[in-house]
Structure formats: C-alpha cells, structure tokens
Symmetry: C2
Subunit: 374 residues, 2 copies
Amino acid sequence: MSAPVASLSPNSGLLRDLPTPCLVVDGEALRRNIEGMAATAREAGVALRPHAKTHKSPEIAKLQMRAGAVGIACATVTEAEELARAGLPGLLLTSPIMGASKFTRIAGLNRQHGLTVVVDHAAQVEALCAAVQPGDRRLNVAVDVDVGQARTGVADIAAGVALARTIAQQPALAFAGIQGFAGHAQHLIDPAERRAAGERAAGVLRALAKALTEASLAPALITGSGTGTHRLDAASIYNELQVGSYVFMDADYARIADEHGEALTFAPSLFVLASVVSVNRPGQVTVDAGTKALATNGPPPCMIIGAPSGARYAFAGDEHGIIFIPRDERTPELGARVLIGATHCDPTVNLHASLHVVAGGELTQWPIVGRYGD
Amino acid sequence: MSAPVASLSPNSGLLRDLPTPCLVVDGEALRRNIEGMAATAREAGVALRPHAKTHKSPEIAKLQMRAGAVGIACATVTEAEELARAGLPGLLLTSPIMGASKFTRIAGLNRQHGLTVVVDHAAQVEALCAAVQPGDRRLNVAVDVDVGQARTGVADIAAGVALARTIAQQPALAFAGIQGFAGHAQHLIDPAERRAAGERAAGVLRALAKALTEASLAPALITGSGTGTHRLDAASIYNELQVGSYVFMDADYARIADEHGEALTFAPSLFVLASVVSVNRPGQVTVDAGTKALATNGPPPCMIIGAPSGARYAFAGDEHGIIFIPRDERTPELGARVLIGATHCDPTVNLHASLHVVAGGELTQWPIVGRYGD
C-alpha cells in the first residue's frame, strides 16, 4: 500500500489545533488519485464523469473537472443543486427518483444549468414531462438498466427499448442513452469473480445498445462503472465512467488489490483525526472517534498514523474508539493525536460537515454539501 | 410492541410533501416515553439527567426538563454549547476530553452557564485549572469510573480516590461526585446477564463511594445508567440516571424486552420516511433510504409502516434500501411512501439535519444540533 505523504503528521503544527474528531485529506494523494484516474480514462478513450456521492465536495469536483472530466455524477437532487450552485457543469443524476417536489426541482435545475437524469419506469417519464415548462431546454433522460444488482433499472431488454422509445417520443425530453451500475461487482475479492460479474453487466448493456440501435434509438451515452471494475469497463461497452471512491481509495478496495497482487493505482487519502482521551488501561488507549465519526459498514480501520505498527482500532460507542497497542510497543500519550484511515469513504464523509485538506504545507477547509436535510 | 399512533401515516397529508429520506418522530409516543421515564425516576427517588447524545435536539431536551429532569447530559463540548445556547440548564459533559481549545471552551461554558464535567486523569484536572479564569465560578468536576466497559474512567478504587482528592484540592474546581456508565450491560439480551453486569457496575461505584466517604470526599453525585438497566439502577447506588435511548426506543431494546416477556415501557417513536423509487422486480421494491439515512450498526429495520406485515428491509447502498414483500402480499406502488422504524436511534439521528415531529395533527420541524463540524 502506498504510504501517505510524510507531511501528514497528526501531531504537527498544521493539524494540532483542529478540534477532534474531524476529517483530514492527504491533498497530495488526492491529487495523484484524480490525475491517475483521468489518465486511465484518457488512455482508454472513455469519458470520465466522477461520482460526487463519494466526496460531496464542490472543490474536489472542480479538481476532477480540471483533470479532464466531462461532468459530475450525483446521487441525489440536493447534491446536483449544490454542485450546480458551485458552477459545476455536466451534471448527471444517477438515481431514479419519485416525488412531486423533486421533479419540480429537476426541471428547475435543467432550466438554469442543464441536467441529465435517469429513469426506470414510464411514470417517471410522465412526471418529468409534466414538470418541464414551456420554453425550457429539453431535459436529457437516460434509461437506468439493472445489470445484476437488482436495485434499480429496467429488468430486461424489451423494457429498456420501450422506455427509451417513450422518452424519445416526448417533445420536452431528449433520449440520452443508457446507464448500468454493477454495484454488486465492485467489492468482489476474487478478481476472476469480479471480472465475470463486470462482464455480465457489460453484456446486458451491450445487448440493450444493440436492440436500441436496431430500433433507431442508438444510445449516445453508455455510462456506469465504479472504482472496482473501472479498468475492465474502460475496455468494454461503456463510453463513460462514473467512478467515485478512487479519490479517497476505500481501504476495502485497497484490500482487494493487496490480497491478489494487483497494482494499487490509488492511495488512501481520507483520515479521521482523533485525540487520545483516556489511557488508564494497559495495552489500549481510547480516542474520541466512534460510530458518529467513522462509517461502521466497512472493514475495521486498519491504518493508524501516530500509533505503532500493528495497532488496531475497534469501535467503542458513538463517540469513542479503542486502539489496541501491540505488546512492547509504545502507547500514544494522553492528548496525542492519531490519523485513522477511513475504510468506507462515502458514508464516513457523510458524517462530517467539512474536509481539512493538507497539501503543500498548507491546510484548507472545504465544505461537505448536500447531506440529508442540509 | 406498542403500535405507533394511527395518525402516523406515511402517505397522509402531513407527510406527503416532505422530501425523502427524512426523519419523522411520532410526537405522541415521544411524549409518553418522556413522561414514563420521568415517572419511573420520580417513583424511585432518583434524579433524571437524560442524555442528549440520542436526540441532539434542544426541543426534546426542553420537554425532558419540563417533565422534571434536573439537567441534560451531553457527549461532546459542541452538544453542551448548543444546548447552553438554547437555554438548557444543568449540563453534564459525560466524556473525558483532551485538547487545549476544548478546555478553553469548557471554561467559557462554565463562566456563562455553569457546567459539570468528568475526568479520568490528573492531566485533565491540570488542564481545566489552567483554563478556568480568575473570577469564574468553580467548575464542577466528577470522576469518571470504569465500571466494566474498559473504555474511559479510572481503573480502580485507589485511582478514583486519588483523582477526587486532586480535584478537591483545586481552588478553581469543585468535586462533584462520580460517574459510571455500564455501556456493555445495556444491550445484553439475557435479563440475568444484564442484571449481573449492572450489579457489578453498581458494586464498583458503591465501593468507590465508600472509600471516598472514608476519605471525607463523599460524592454528592453518583450518576450513570442507560435505558437497558435503568430500572435496576434506579433501585441501586445511583442517585441520577443519564438514560438516553428511551425517547426513541431503539428496536434493539424493544427486541430485548420482547424476547423475554418483560413489559415494554417505551414505544418506538423514530422513523425514516422513504419513497418507493423502483418497482421493476417481483417481490421487492427499492426505496430512497440507505446507509446514509439509517445507521447500519443496529439490527436490520423490522418495522415498516406502509408495507405489508412480514416485509423486511435490507440496505442496498448509500442511498437505497430494498423492501422484500412476502409472497401474495400487496406491493407498495411506485412513489408510495413508507416509514421505516429506526433500529439504532443515536447514529440514525446523527445522519440528518432535523426531526419532523407529528403530534396532535400537526407537523413541526426541530433542528438536530452539534453534529461533527456543524
């Protein structure tokens, strides 16, 4: 695993006065990750529309655009609104949605900024047509396809063609193409299994694209993918990648690569800064970062900067974690700080209001936008 | 399990226009829970200082005060600041903390509002003394005691007496008493095991109180407890209960009571309102509430209002969940809404910016305060 840059020291001047717990980003690793994925897409000749659900950060989205992205993918209407407000172009809402107020907001976003959305049911097409106002530009609408995750998307080729035709028949809408996200494939440990699931997903999109072309509805956009399958997908039917996690590099992805000897292209860049608040028990210290600071639905955090090698973190409640120190190793002192590598980045980001980014010897604070109810 | 009030209908007028996902509180159940716990404490002759970490809501804290609480417990300095700003009295910070800026903020809170904090190390006493300014009122400081959770707190009786003496010797501080939280005991399924763990915890506090009294440091305050052991603790050494979860009644607590035939005093009152966004697969629908809307570190949600009996929820990513519908039961329609009972309330609340409270045929929105970085 690539080591974080030496400048990222939890007890250094830059981080010493931050209230804990808080999110810290290794800005150099972030920049390398963004450039690395941009280069991969460029070399493969596919467009990159990175997913903002990972970072919820207009600043990171701007870095991704500067590196050559064609736009930014969003999971919610609020994320799209926040990114539009920050001036990000080429927004794609990747989740089919329902709800009268949301259709109105989508139409408003399209009116002011332009937008592509996905649907998986004719009722959504009807609601979008009702929301678009006379004089608005056409709203780009793609068909979301179930490529094996069984979550959203049309369930078969015939339904996909029918829905595309319905979209294309609406004067208020423009048929944009197709989307398939093989979420179930991204974290498969076995590379052969991952490849097989990715290929099955691509096969569904390939068959639908063929059927659409035969129906004179050739899809301009074939979008999807994720960090786990992006290399496979870049060489496949997709002409656009919606990768997200690579900016922070989930430890789970790192584990997948490590255990099977694949080159790890990206480096972990997201950490939670925590303070040691209790040292009364031998072999362990308690820190002020628990389940409200670090997502619990990933592997346990395994990289702890500021603790000896072999130290391991365990959740100990909403506001506490325990770091177990290997025998004969030095125990961090009361008040010392540690940087705990996030193992599931998207939901960890979602627990905080801002990112503290360290790069070039400077610390900057970037807001996290579009959390529920914000 | 007590049924939620009939007025809490996910597709009714009151909830129909709320953007999903969002938190909805059954205000009638909330009120009954608050009154029930207040009555239990009153009858047992113990004080009640409910824990705000559960709800992060000044409005709920005010209801708890009106029902007879002596003050409010907080897990973080920010929670204490937010509650002080809202005028809540009797604040107790239940976590030992470290960090220069936090000691300064504690001293400021004490100056303006009065405050009790806990410590488990002499270094914290020293830092508090340095932060309190000439002319400030004395800061109340209690000793946090490890009663079996192995997380924070002094590890033995001698250390507790020594730390209490150190506090009592400081002109800037007042020794307030002792705190022990048996977090490990709260969710034990077997009532006999839970009782045994609770009694061991109380035994530690009893021994420390005796030793302190012999050292002329009799603790005025013996605080702790939680929803899982509150009945046992109310009849034990504690003179104050810091119960939190009872306001929303975690499904995990409900499960404990159900499986062993104990009367369930409290009713679930916290729900996530979600919309059905995809209906393309038989036997299941997809809703727009996933791991960013519902905490993942409890049991899977089991109560779904608006879905047929026997329906079950499964996480399907950050923004999605799948509700599996029993065979031959009616499937919720595209765009329909459901209310999903939260199974781990504290971290679920922490994922949202506000509570939507339904009571007496009215809907009110209460802010959630003090999330990390807010």
